[in-house]
């Protein structure tokens, strides 16, 4: 009996997921604003006691970098 209930629940969830995907697909086609932007940047890492004295501070260098790779920007 429990097996049948579990199977029915799994089926319902799968149907729900398919319906959600279908609704989502319609929305994405008709409304470009529903396309998500690229990923937000990650938090910059810790700074040591003397990190900001001089130029050997990786987070400060990333925060002022002039290329995406040096700034650690997301790939997608």
């Amino acid at each position: 009996m429990r097996g049948i209930v579990r199977l029915a629940m799994a089926g319902a969830l799968a149907l729900g997921a398919c319906a959600g995907a279908a609704v989502g697909a319609e929305l994405l086609l008709n409304d470009p604003a529903s396309l998500v932007t690229s990923s937000p940047p990650a938090l910059l890492g810790p700074i040591t006691e003397t990190g900001r004295t001089g130029w050997n501070c990786a987070p400060e260098r990333a925060a002022t970098a002039k290329t995406a790779a040096a700034a650690g920007l997301p790939h997608d």
Partner: protein, 269 residues
Amino acid sequence: MLTRVVAVASLVALVTATGGVSAQNYSRPTAAPRTTDASALAAQARERLVHERFMRGVAAEERGDWSAAEAEFRSVVSLDPPEPKGSSARYDLALAESHLGRDDAAVALLQDALHRDPRFAAAAANLVVIELRRGNLSAARAAADRYLAFAPDAVLARYARGLAALKAGDLATARDDFRALIGADPSYAAAHYDLALVELRAGRDDAARAELERALELLPSYARARFALGTVLMRDGRKADARLAFDRCAHDAADPALRALAIDLRDRL
């Protein structure tokens, strides 16, 4: 006699040589206090405590032990060290608070750090990132504007403000920022993708398609860009091309939700 002299000379030479090597291998001893003044000694003790807490806090953050880091940096902040240590301690404490899920506290600490050092770029960057992540777009935009004002060439500032503007519907600012980002780093595919989203929301599908194609030239496995291109092609009536785009997206997407959407659209065509 001569043998003894040679032996002693060799021993002296050996001691001198090994003494030199030892001097290179061992750090200098801590300088002895040169004062008996109580307040000066207290200041030295406080400085030493700040140093120890900083070292332990950074080590904790590097191994992801945010609770331990939070305790260490809270202690440093309470000791109120001079700049730049004061703002750095608040930055590190904010990092720990954010990882512990306390973004309100993190934001307040980063604002305090920026009050102490208004050109603290990493603090400005993390403030924008936290506000973006929690969807507070007006605060993210204000923080990004302030960041860009003192770091106009920073691509991270440009990217963050572009995202805040795009999410808030300020297409003109978002377009300017992503174009500036592309000007600074033409090989950055995500900037072309975000600029394409700006153009799509402005109803300029042709400009959007050109940016998406450029993003995919730079990064062929860019699933989000491939998906967006599929939707543009589909609206343009190019069903065969759209089907190919969704099929490739379904192949490349790491995100299961995006893969499911791509498969659904592909199978309808």
